[in-house]
Symmetry: C2
Subunit: 258 residues, 2 copies
Amino acid sequence: MSFPKVTILGTGNLANHLSKALEQSGIQLEYVYGRSLDKAKKIANNLYATKATDRLDFSQADAQIYILCVTDNAIAHLAREVILPEKAIILHTSGATALDVIEQADTDYGVFYPLQTFSKTRKISFDKLPICLEASSDEAEILLESLVKKLGAVPCFMNSEQRLSTHLAAVFACNFSNHFYSIAQAILKEKGLPLELLQPLILETTQKALEIGPENAQTGPAIRQDLATMFRHQELLKEHPNWQELYSKISENIAKGN
Amino acid sequence: MSFPKVTILGTGNLANHLSKALEQSGIQLEYVYGRSLDKAKKIANNLYATKATDRLDFSQADAQIYILCVTDNAIAHLAREVILPEKAIILHTSGATALDVIEQADTDYGVFYPLQTFSKTRKISFDKLPICLEASSDEAEILLESLVKKLGAVPCFMNSEQRLSTHLAAVFACNFSNHFYSIAQAILKEKGLPLELLQPLILETTQKALEIGPENAQTGPAIRQDLATMFRHQELLKEHPNWQELYSKISENIAKGN
C-alpha cells in the first residue's frame, strides 16, 4: 500500500522546504495551495507531479494529509474554510498554536511542528530533525508517526502546553542568541572589527553547551564575579543604555544562577 | 635559527592547552611556572623536555617568551615579581586587561589573547584561531606575529581599547547566549523535555547568523510583532519574573532594531 498523498497549504519557506523533503522521501504531493496562484505555481513547478491551486475545495481530491504551512494568525481561518475529502487529516505546523484551534467535526486533525528555522537561501535537512506531534485520535497518531519516519525525522509526541514551552525555549536559545550576535557585531563594528573574529568562539560555545550542558559551560566575568572587568564593560556601554541594562540584568542572573 | 623557547606562567586551562599546542608546533617550552609546584608538574610532565618551577627568577633561563596564563587580577602582580633574562618579552593573555598593566622598564611586553573558550575536557584547535596581539615595540610585533603563525593561528593586531570591545562582544555572543541555553533548558525541563530537542535548531541558528549575518537572520515573534504569541509566552513566564523581564526587554529591542 502506498503512502497517502499530501497537499501543502501555504507558499512560504516552510512550504517550500517541506514539499521538497516530502517528495524526496517518496511521498507524492497532490496540490500546493496559495492565495496567490502564482506563488503556489512557483513551488508546484519544482515538484514532480503537483498541481497549484488557489481554491480551498478539496472534496474531490485524492490527498489524505493537508498541512497548513501558514502564519499563526491564518491557521484558524484556513482550517475553517478548507473543504476536505472524507478520511482526511489536517495539520498545522505552529509551535505556539494549540491543537484545538483547528478542531474539525468530521475529520482528524493534528500538529506537525518541525523544530527548525527555515529560510529561503539555506538548505535544511529533515534527517534526524525533531518534529513535535499531536493528534486528535490514535489512528492519526500512527499516521503522523509514519509520516515523520518517512522523512527520516524524529517523532516527538507532546501536548499543546509542552509545545508552547518548547517554542518559548527556542525563542530564548535561538531568537535571543541571534539578537546578541547582532549586538556583538555592532560593538565590534564601532571599533572597525568584523564579527568573523568571534566565529570559532561562537561555534565552540554552542557545541560545548550542547555537549556538556549549558549549566556546566558558563564562563565569563559574571559567573566568576570579576567586578573589575564588568565595570570596564559597563563603561564601554555607557552610550548604549539598552545594552547596558541587558548586561547588568543578565550578569546578575548568571551570578545568582537563575 | 630555531624559534625562541617559551615559558608558561600559570596552570589553568589556557596554560594546559597552549603549552601542548606550542609544543605540537615545534616550539620548545622551558618552564611551566605555578604557585603550586604540583600543578606545574602536572602540565610539564605532559610535555617533552619542560621543567616545572614555583620560582619567579628566570634571570639565568634560556626562554625568551614568557606567557602569563593567569586570572586577570594576578597579571599585574606577577608581571612585577617575575625576574626575566635580558632580551625577553612578557605577554599577558587577557581580553579585558590593557597592555600597560604589564609595562616593563627593560624588556618588551605584549598581549596574546586567543579568542576561544578553554575547558579541561574539550580539545581545542589553534588552527585558524584569531589571536589578538599588541606589543610594546616593532621588534616585539614581528616576534608575536611569527609565534601566532607557527601555531597555525591568525594574528590580529589591535589596541587595548579594541581588545576590550572584542571581549565585551564575546560576552554578549557567548557568555550570554550560553545563559539563554540554560534558561531554555530550564523551561523545557519544567515540562519534562530535554534540551537536545533544540539541538538542530541551535546549531542552524548559529551557522546561519555567521553565514548571512545576524541582522539578516533574525526570526521569531518579536521581529514579526506577533503579539498573540508574545502574550502566550509572557503568560508562561509569569512565575519567572527574571526571565519575563528579559523576554520583554529583548523583544522590545529586537522590534526596535537595536
